[in-house]
């Protein structure tokens, strides 16, 4: 820890030099809140000290040679060019140091991989560009939601001042109880993403078609933030992860509220909606799910992100568009929204696209969406 203080003074000085930086300067690991993250921090400090000592030693010799053995000082070159003893020593000693380092590191690697006996299991699915969460075992089983960036577009484009948690805030936070072993099963629906919370020392690539897992046990209540760390296309920098760690009682309360809310949201897909209602709701769904690619103007960014304004598909028969939204288009960023959105939301967003930007096609009712689901 003494080392960190010295470096933090240096870092602070360097930070002062950068004028205009209003925010606190981060320069080292976030404060660890899990055992694994603490182990990583300690290993890193030990290895840094070791490196500094070796570095100073080796380059002490180099700089002394640069200073004392200069031609301008009249130093005559000696002509020695080997020394078996020295050469064996500087091969064997580093090898021994490595063996000594390897021991504690191996223990941490094994602990990090041990996902057995979890108290709560959450499945995380990476989508372009948001995260889906399903609580699949333990208290809260059955809870399911999608979590995406809540920083407004205006802040990103510089039309509004940036908030404190710029790019690190989401609409639905993951909530977990403090002190419990949480197993995180990670997968993806389209391309590879990576789920990471630095304060937990937990990072796992999300591989489409495969399930991988990691785990954490958060020791302190609080809100912990991370980001996707595997390049996953255009909006890779805009799919953060936020985990709120709460006490056991608060967690139980949250589970209750969440389940009630889910029951309330479960709407009757056979209800017939008015067109205006569908369009109004669809605009919100569009802003949350579609706007990054197809743009607010509906003009998209062809050819990767095709326009919806004037599109043949959008202005064509209803089943064609419903199928694309439900099932996605393989090998493109157009994902299968059937798994993420309700029949009503899909009907609403389709209706919105069919009634906007000069499109003049018929509306789609939730019942039609339900009928096309396979």
């Amino acid at each position: 820890m003494r080392g960190t203080r010295i470096v933090s003074v240096l870092a602070g000085l360097a930070g002062l030099a950068a004028s205009g930086a209003a925010h606190a300067i981060a320069w080292y690991f976030q404060t660890p809140v899990s055992g694994i993250a603490r182990d990583i921090d300690q290993l890193h400090q030990v290895i840094m000290w070791l490196i500094i000592v070796i570095f100073v030693g080796v380059f002490g010799f180099m700089f002394w040679a640069c200073y004392a053995h200069r031609k301008s000082k009249g130093h005559q070159a000696e002509q020695f060019h080997e020394n078996t003893t020295v050469e064996i020593l500087w091969t064997v000693i580093p090898a021994l140091i490595l063996v000594i380092i390897a021991w504690p590191v191996t223990k941490t690697v094994i602990a990090q991989k041990d996902t057995s006996a979890p108290e709560l299991t959450i499945k995380v699915t990476g989508y372009q560009w948001k995260w889906g969460y399903d609580y699949i075992k333990g208290e809260g089983e059955g809870i399911s939601f999608v979590s995406m960036l809540s920083t407004p577009r205006e802040q990103i484009e510089g039309n509004a001042p940036k908030g404190e948690n710029y790019l690190l805030e989401v609409d639905n936070e993951v909530v977990v109880p403090v002190g419990k072993k949480i197993r995180v099963i990670v997968t993806a629906a389209d391309v590879i993403h990576a789920w990471w919370i630095p304060a937990f020392g937990a990072k796992q690539d999300a591989i489409p078609g495969f399930l991988r897992d990691t785990w954490f046990r958060a020791n302190e209540p609080g809100t912990y933030r991370g980001q996707c760390t595997e390049l996953c296309g255009k909006e890779h920098g805009f799919m953060p992860i936020v985990v709120r760690v709460v006490s056991a009682e608060d967690y139980t309360k949250w589970v209750g509220e969440r389940k009630q809310a889910m029951a309330a949201v479960a709407e009757d897909p056979s209800k017939t909606w008015k067109v205006d209602e569908l369009v109004a709701r669809g605009e919100k769904v569009y802003a949350a799910n579609c706007v990054a690619c197809h743009q607010a103007s509906g003009r998209g960014a062809p050819p990767a992100f095709p326009p919806l304004a004037g599109s043949k598909l959008v202005n064509g028969p209803e089943p064609g568009q419903i199928d694309v939204v439900l099932n996605g288009r393989p090998n493109t960023a157009m994902q299968a929204f059937g798994k993420q959105l309700s029949d009503t939301d899909i009907a609403a967003v389709i209706t919105y696209t069919r009634k906007s930007w000069g499109n003049k096609a018929s509306e789609v009712q939730p019942a039609e969406v339900k009928a096309r689901r396979k």
Partner: protein, 529 residues
């Protein structure tokens, strides 16, 4: 060979092949001409890749999206990586190989002179394809230089151009390597035994074997990507029975040896420069050869250390961690040998030596962060963050690029017969050294604090370091204009180089050939003591 022999028959010793003007360069089979072509080509690519880096750092100067949209940002990071690795760093060392290997082993030219011409002239076509991809519908691929599946399947036609460019670049490298291996094994002057070869030749012999082994693997990886994209195969698609992680295994089986393909020739240059300016033989020549070979062999069994977060079994993680840690031993031996070469020498610090010392210092720093990254738990924390970006730029820029600068300043007088401006050379070194560290040292902090790589925008707590890093990058870019000026000035109006510009240099090109070297050298093998 025959072209060279023909000109001899006519007795024109300074004859530039049969043509003048541009045709001289297109038809040349002379190793020195081809070396020059490689060097200029790599400088042009270095400038193009550098401009892309400036674009990246402009966008990252402040949080928010200012200069470009995220798609174009991804295209820039991808092409910056591909162009710097395949267009700038690899060709610059092939340029050195062409110029130096025949002269250092006492051979008249490369073994396959026409093949040599073709290895070079493939490159401009590959570079054109890479640059052209920006103008395709959908732009260049925005997938990162590693081209991970299945993101590659979503890209436009620019991805296909990139795949073909990689094929052509690989072909060029393999042909060049076959030429280098054959030249070194068959065309050494009598008495030039393997263990008497300058270390630069040794490192290239080993590098050429790495290239022949690794480049076909990359060609395989991108070909599988191509067939997944267009011909309905499912190598990397789980829905069809494939596995996206397979791509990463194949890519890094090429990718890790590639790191040493880039680094080893640089080690060779440094091993010529440091003894010359220390006026003292290289310490531990034999152990240098063994260490280089050991690094090359180990480089084939460490590839999955780029993939600790994909979810490997614990035994896999441990194996790749131990193997990776092992690299530190032979690398350490090399650094110790270089320092021991300087120890009790008679040192002077002309520009090549400054760059060599800069290399030693910075490359070791990059090696140490490599050791940090070899440890699975720490790597999982900093994987795909700016810590990794800082690490590999210390290895690639402070390693390979500094070595290339050292080599150019070292051999320029021999090649051209002109001296460069020593003061300006030193200014170039210090500017590059300072701005390099301003750019990349702070990126270690960004990575530790949690800034992911390949993002066009970032949370506010990363702003200060990003500003500093961007300023450093702009300074470093501008400093390279000075380098161009120094080289052009030396070519146009540089002072005539003395017969032996560097007192301590003792390989064949310095001891057996006049300055500047004539167009054809060692038509009869030199007599070695």
């Amino acid at each position: 060979m025959s072209a060279v022999v023909d000109t001899h028959a006519h007795g024109h010793h300074d004859h530039h092949g049969g043509y003048g003007g541009i045709m001289r360069w297109i038809t040349t089979t002379n190793h020195k001409d081809i070396g020059t072509l490689y060097l200029w080509f790599s400088f042009i690519m270095f400038s193009v890749g550098g401009l892309m880096a400036v674009g990246i750092r402009m966008e990252l100067f402040s949080p928010g999206l200012q200069v470009m949209d995220p798609d174009f940002f991804n295209q820039l990071t991808t092409m910056h990586g591909l162009i710097m690795v395949f267009g700038a760093i690899m060709p610059v060392f092939v340029g050195f190989a062409n110029w130096q290997i025949p002269m250092m082993i006492g051979a008249p030219d490369m073994a396959f002179a026409r093949l040599n011409n073709w290895s070079f002239w493939l490159l401009p076509f590959a570079a054109t394809l890479l640059v052209l991809s920006f103008f395709m519908p959908g732009g260049a691929p925005g997938v990162g230089w590693t081209m991970y599946a299945p993101l590659t399947v979503q890209m436009g036609i620019g991805m296909d151009l990139t795949i073909f460019a990689v094929h052509i670049l690989g072909m060029s490298s393999i042909l060049g390597s076959i030429n280098i291996i054959t030249t070194i094994l068959n065309m050494r002057a009598p008495g030039m035994t393997l263990m008497k070869m300058p270390l630069f030749v040794w490192t290239w012999l080993i590098t050429a074997y790495l290239l022949v082994a690794a480049m076909p693997v990359l060609a395989g990886a991108v070909t599988m990507t191509l067939t997944d994209r267009h011909f309905g195969t499912s190598f990397f698609n789980a829905a069809g029975g494939g596995d996206p992680v397979l791509y990463q295994h194949v890519f890094w089986f090429f990718g890790h040896p590639e790191v040493y393909i880039i680094a080893l020739p640089g080690f060779g240059v440094i091993s010529q420069v440091i003894p010359a300016f220390s006026r003292k033989p290289l310490f531990g020549y034999a152990s240098m050869v063994y260490a280089t070979s050991a690094i090359a062999i180990i480089s084939f069994i460490v590839w999955a250390h780029h993939m600790y977060t994909v979810g490997m079994p614990v035994t896999g993680q441990l194996f790749f961690m131990y193997a990776t840690m092992l690299v530190a031993v032979p690398t350490g031996v090399k650094v110790f040998n270089w320092v021991a070469t300087m120890w009790k020498g008679s040192l002077t610090f002309e520009t090549p030596m400054l760059f060599a010392c800069g290399f030693l210092f910075m490359f070791t720093l990059g090696g140490f962060t490599g050791l940090v990254l070899s440890l699975v738990p720490i790597d999982i924390q900093v994987h795909d963050t700016y810590y990794v970006v800082a690490h590999f730029h210390y290895v690639m820029v402070a390693g390979a690029l500094f070595a290339a600068f050292a080599g150019i300043y070292f051999w320029l007088p021999k090649w051209t017969g002109r001296m460069y401006d020593e003061t300006l050379g030193k200014v170039h070194f210090w500017l590059t050294m300072i701005f390099f560290n301003v750019t990349f040292f702070v990126q270690h902090f960004l990575g530790l604090a949690g800034m992911p790589r390949r993002v066009p925008d970032y949370p506010l707590m990363f702003e200060a370091w990003n500003k500093i890093s961007s300023i450093g990058a702009f300074g470093m870019g501008l400093s390279q204009l000075l380098f161009l000026y120094i080289v052009l000035k030396a070519l146009r109006s540089g002072a005539k180089a003395p017969e032996k510009p560097w007192e301590g240099a003792d390989s064949l090109e310095w001891t057996h050939l006049p300055t500047p070297v004539p167009y054809h050298t060692f038509e009869t093998p030199p007599v070695l003591k």
